[in-house]
Subunit: 563 residues, 2 copies
């Protein structure tokens, strides 16, 4: 949100906002019972899973998914619109709740800027949410690395499962940006120090345990999913699972608190469940299913978001999360920004501040493709034009006119600057399409389709590709996965977020292209097959001047330099 620099900074706005005690949010807005709430300080709480049982007969609230066009590297403000829309629904006296992802600490140390919305549409306390929060990610890190230690301990003490150390696919994890840990060798130093082998650290949000936690429907289901995780292969190339190691109980124990959704509030005291945050490329990029389900039980309207653009986040929300969790989304909000559309129209990053309606019109093709995608899922939608200070009157008019002519519902949205008041028109439009719009929600592939067919459906219907190429390696893996009985799982596409193609530099709406599947990975715990179109970076690095250099704590114990 750098273009808003003449306004107050996000942390300034957040720190000057008087927070309500979280019990008050829980009691007044959500009718939670006292014993269902576990406080974490004054403004954060965990909610007991007992709520799901108590409210299981209740008619679920309407689920509204917020997605976007292919984003610029700075992001288009999807979280800000998510928060602002829920605040606006509250202004219209609707009982609205947010369900969103928890930010990772690693990137916070690297680049200025969090993932908790911005301006007057933020979740708070944003400093704590961006740092340790309620410890869920730390618990996942611990479970991830405990599993790694059990694997290496098994090798060290005789390896009776016959695990091939060269074929261990379970990697270690830290919630930090740390490029030096991407490729390491471990177990050095002689016989008392383990078996030497190659290993890798991922950032914790890329751990399959994060995806598992986010798709689990209960504590028992969490244990089941954990036990199915494939950690590697034997010398005879048979998969070895967590259940084979017998540690699914210990991992469940390490996650028994982390599985409970976290309650916080927005600047306008709208309740927000913030829980889980898996990668949106090698995983499905949505907050936990439990938080979403719980939100639909506690509110009449739930605003949730999915990572990156509609080609990744929304596709996975609809094809994976909704399938596994039996969710029925009621509407989709597609966030578009003038700057992103101008970039899709051919402008360079340093040209985005200047008015350019030609580039805008040219770039609208990208938005149009995402609209078609949402239509193919059978869902009603609204385009939310998230206003930036650099946007000109002429550009906004141009975009609204285009929407009008093409018959797409579109609304200018000023939630960053005005909070809920800046999103009332959007909220009204969303309510209208939910009431009137036709909803014939469908998945884009069936469970029983072949792996190739599922990938082709996504590539053609969502990306607009004419075909899919598979490397020899990928072809061989598909055969193996079919043999192992994994082929009825949904597909989780790992692709660049910047382009509809598998090439980050191809913007706008490309035509007549194919995508290449280089490799597949079975995430059996999460319950999907990851299809990789290229190298996906699962451990980010820090910039030469990390944001950490400016961070500190003030004399009154407040975070400074965080944003």
């Amino acid at each position: 949100m750098n273009s808003h620099q003449k306004f107050k900074s996000d942390i300034e706005i957040a720190l000057e906002t008087p927070l309500l005690p979280i019990q008050q949010i829980a009691n007044n807005h959500l009718d939670l019972k006292e014993e269902e709430l576990e406080l974490f300080g004054k403004y954060k709480a965990k909610i007991s899973l007992d709520v799901l049982e108590r409210l299981k007969e209740k008619e679920p609230g309407k689920l509204i998914l917020v997605t976007s066009t292919n984003p610029t590297p700075a992001g288009e403000g999807k979280s800000t619109v998510t928060v602002g829309l829920a605040q606006a629904l509250n202004k219209l006296n609707k009982k609205a709740i947010i369900a969103m992802r928890e930010p990772s600490l690693g990137p916070t140390m690297g680049l200025k800027g969090g993932a908790t919305g911005g301006g007057y549409s933020q979740v708070i306390p944003m400093d704590e949410i961006n740092l340790h929060f309620t410890g869920d990610i730390h618990a996942i890190t611990t479970a991830n690395n405990a599993l790694a230690s059990f694997i290496d301990n098994h090798l060290h003490h005789g390896n009776y499962l016959n695990i091939d150390p060269r074929r261990i696919v379970w990697r270690r994890a830290l919630d930090l940006n740390d490029r030096a840990l991407r490729n390491i060798t471990i177990g050095l130093g002689g016989p008392t120090n383990g078996i030497p082998r190659e290993d890798h650290f991922d950032i914790t949000v890329a751990s399959e345990i994060m995806a598992v936690l986010c798709l689990a429907s209960s504590l028992d289901n969490l244990r089941e999913r954990l036990s199915r995780i494939v950690i590697g292969y034997t010398y005879s190339k048979d998969p070895v699972t967590v259940a084979d190691l017998g540690v699914e109980g210990a991992l469940t124990l390490l996650l028994k608190e982390a599985i409970k959704p976290n309650l916080v509030q927005t600047i306008e005291h709208t309740p927000a469940l913030i829980h889980g945050g898996p990668f949106a490329n090698i995983a499905h990029g949505c907050n936990s299913l439990l938080a979403t389900k719980m939100a639909t039980m506690l509110g009449d309207y739930v605003v949730t978001e999915a990572g990156f653009g509609a080609d990744l986040g929304a596709e996975k929300f609809l094809n994976i999360k909704s399938r596994i969790g039996k969710l029925n989304p009621s509407a989709v909000v597609i966030v578009a920004t003038i700057r992103a559309l101008k970039m899709h129209g051919g402008l360079r990053k340093d040209q985005l501040q200047q008015e350019n309606t030609d580039a805008l019109i040219k770039g609208i093709t990208n938005l149009k493709k995402h609209i078609e995608t949402i239509k193919s899922f059978g869902l009603p939608y609204v385009v939310a034009i998230n206003k930036f200070v650099s946007d000109t009157e002429a550009e906004i008019t141009e975009l609204l006119n285009w929407s009008d002519q093409e018959g797409h519902p579109a609304v200018l949205c000023e939630v960053w600057e005005h909070g809920g008041n800046g999103g009332v028109e959007l909220a009204e439009k969303v309510l209208k399409i939910i009431e009137e719009g036709e909803n014939s929600f469908q998945f884009l592939y069936k469970d029983e389709d072949s792996i190739e067919q599922k990938i082709f459906n996504i590539a053609s219907k969502v990306y607009g590709a004419t075909g899919v190429q598979f490397t020899n390696k990928a072809k061989k893996q598909i055969q193996e996965f079919e043999f192992l009985g994994w082929s009825n799982l949904p597909i989780c596409m790992a692709k660049t977020q910047y382009s509809l193609t598998d090439d980050a530099s191809v913007l706008g709406r490309p035509e007549s292209f194919t995508i290449t599947i280089r490799e597949l990975k079975g995430s059996l715990g999460a319950g999907f097959i990851v299809a990789l179109t290229g190298d996906i970076m699962t451990m980010p690095g820090l910039p030469s001047e990390p944001a950490a250099l400016n961070m500190d704590v003030s004399v009154d114990g407040k975070a400074t330099g965080l944003f």
Copy 2:
């Protein structure tokens, strides 16, 4: 506590105990104000450091240190006696509080048994305390590894500080037992993935940041200590500090919640501050100074403990923590068990269950040496004989008779079986020696003594050694440390806990021996020089059948198989 197996297990006792809401403990026992408490669930809370300011004029409570003879590998029940003694003081209507260390999660996954006392003298909720607790250790892990990532990022982006990658002494850390991470190579995979170098993971409690947190007197002092940490040396062998990297603010930010002491309760609802848990060999092995100070402000009697036996934990509590924190301990309880004394008398582990008064008498020499040590510090003491079910009447009588004849106050203590009621006699004796006993507390060396002199004083007065040998490496380091102006720091001895010598197999009370200092390490953030007498394992491994195999969560969400 394996010899108590005919009784209920620790977790059974803990789970059947009705806990009081932690606010009730805070209000009724400690007169804490509501705004000074931050709840973590229903039975854990953090206490604001503002309490230190509010109560700074208050006469501090009496500080009672619990230590022991050289222990057996199973431990002698120091934590159990600490908890039991405080409970007993409460029974005598004294306002008593416990200040103790937080257990590390790593060993919990490996061997059955926690570090939260036992039987009817436990701190609860023991499952949570032994797992993630309030996230302090996770915050330390994060700060430790964030620092490591900043170092490698600095190397990657040009290394303008001229750090020699071969002389980086900062190591990564995880709160797990993971031998395969003891010796690793990082930064592999080509130019985009960092600078290749050798690295090591320690268990988090061995991180200097744990020692720093435990010796900090305020948030500002924490930042100061963090900035002094030496992370390595330049190619010209000059020390490089956290301040040189400019990240002390970010590390302080990551620790701003972890620095606040945690409040829980015992089985009998005695308040307990559990905060910090540094290693007792390469660090000083005591809970945080802030928790101890705060406890002395909130209670009239504070029962605290130090790691391992009196030769390590108590020596460091008295020479290091009391010096840095200006503490004035009032009395020392020396825990002795019949089994440990019989082991010191020459019995093997498998012979300890049998009555053997001869071995007992022979082994008493070990206890006698620790009594002399406490006397040399000028402190009154009581010997607490911590009763185990295998102890016979004859053995107990023999030990009590010996104490009587030699004029040492000694009490049989049954706090495991009977809680506070089993420690009333001990509590009365402790109160008596505080009132009557002579207290001429003194350190065993002065700040301005040379490094060699300090080490000699500890070795001769505490271990009973006739002399100290220094390797050539150690001699050279002493010269370097003197040149760097570090020689006025206290000494933190890293030595085996099983023997008064530096050889774990030499039990009892050895005479005419020397100890060898192989190497020194400057812990400038913690504020001490570590003197290593041998290889100290700073990353434990898991056994072939780790305790994790039995762990799980019950249908009602409770930990099972943890103990």
